[in-house]
Symmetry: C3
């Protein structure tokens, strides 16, 4: 259920960005699908396993429903901005943890798992921005990817301390959401690289 | 022979777009090659098999010939615009069917095969547009990708009805070409996503 | 040691380009990492092996050190422009040879190895330019990728002539560096594709 909501929120984010560039329905669908499955697909291709969305039609249908909702309830989606933000953050936390567990489960070292968790959570948005011909927003805006990395490190630490799994997962989930909420609430961002003079 | 013409037309499309951005010969070659093999390569990487162009030097040479032709017959290529359009459409139909058959042959469900057919046919053009720093044209112009998807669905239907293979392939081929021709002839396009107010 | 320097120079090139777009530290790190490992990762994914950086934490740390250096010594990096240019060229030569050897070692034909050597050397820079929303510089500027291709062809010739390995590697290395140095010194570039009239 949570996974469905996260996928829906991710797809909707892609579709809404596509609206801003006057894409047609197909373009909107592809953008939404790219956000929803892009990160996990890059992860799975690097891990050498079949991309997760190819074994479950849920992601294809969920993106279709997001497109349908975006077209039908166009006037109301903006009013739900806060709800989408919450779902998007839940999606980030969920996808990060799923990426870490899948990678660690395949026997890769933990630093690879943290990177893969981050890729799972944020690469879809980068693909969206590349397709829309924008500079990827996560590279110069609020903290987003760092929440995923911080969560990954916490998960590693808890695992290393032999904390039992459900507690580690829930803590990681909460910490990622918390960092993201605080970053947006207080406009916290990383320092910017300065051009050389 | 048909495959060679399709590859040639795809490569030429990449090279001609590259000319518009004043790329050098290498840039033109890469753009052409990306259009010709990009979609099939993404498909093969997702399917976990060796990319098709790595086992047959034909695609590398064909792109080189397209570059050669684009440089040599620069003044005449525009007069042949209609011919390239026809070849490009044949290429779309051919690549779509090849993508579907390869994916289904590996035992994936049919909805995956339809997506893979579409990726084989259109992803090369998306890569081209990304490399040229343009917004991908298939996301906001005439119907192109939807012809591929419609053809894939038809193929599925015919397969399910137990129609024999050659007839299914030829019907799919014709339908994809027909949709594309009609869409361009009558300027049919999908509805555009509207920005929220 | 040479590999470390090449990786460092590649990462620094990504980070410095990111500075020009006012990316934050995370964006700079990702850009640097993409340049350092992007080409080799595309190669490994196509070859169907685990991406090289997933088995050695050196690349992750090296990029971190490059970011650290770029932030700390911001005022001095420009003065070292010539040094970075040399390291970048050494990196190009080194990555090209590594790509060729890995591909040939997996039993692929030599023309595939030359392409993979070129991808290993230059694709990272293309990814960087795509992430920064620029037109890839290697498609319309000085000779860069062609040095890699020329080196690959030389390597092939020497291998075919049964020259012993170390001599072939050193010759290839020198030729790639020499072509690159001469191209930059004398502003040699490939002819540009002309738009049709």
């Amino acid at each position: 259920m949570l996974e469905f909501l996260g996928t829906f929120a991710f797809a909707l984010s892609g579709i809404r960005h596509a609206s801003g560039k006057h894409f047609d329905w197909f373009g909107g669908y592809v953008c939404g699908f790219a956000v929803a499955i892009g990160g996990g697909t890059i992860r799975d291709v690097m891990l050498g396993v079949t991309p997760f969305w190819m074994t479950n039609i849920m992601y294809v249908l969920c993106t279709g429903m997001a497109l349908f909702a975006a077209i039908l309830f166009r006037k109301y989606t903006r009013k739900l901005d806060n709800a989408w933000f919450v779902f998007d953050t839940l999606g980030l936390a969920l996808f990060t943890i799923a990426g870490i567990q899948k990678t660690a489960g395949l026997g890769h070292p933990f630093w690879v798992a943290i990177i893969m968790g981050c890729i799972t959570g944020v690469a879809g948005g980068v693909i969206r921005d590349v397709l829309l011909n924008n500079v990827p927003v996560i590279f110069h805006k609020e903290i987003y990817a760092m929440a995923s990395v911080a969560g990954g490190m916490l998960y590693w630490g808890l695992f290393w301390l032999d904390i039992n799994m459900p507690i580690a997962v829930i803590s990681t989930f909460c910490v990622i959401c918390l960092i993201r909420f605080l970053a947006v609430r207080y406009h916290i961002s990383l320092p910017t690289l300065q051009e050389e003079r």
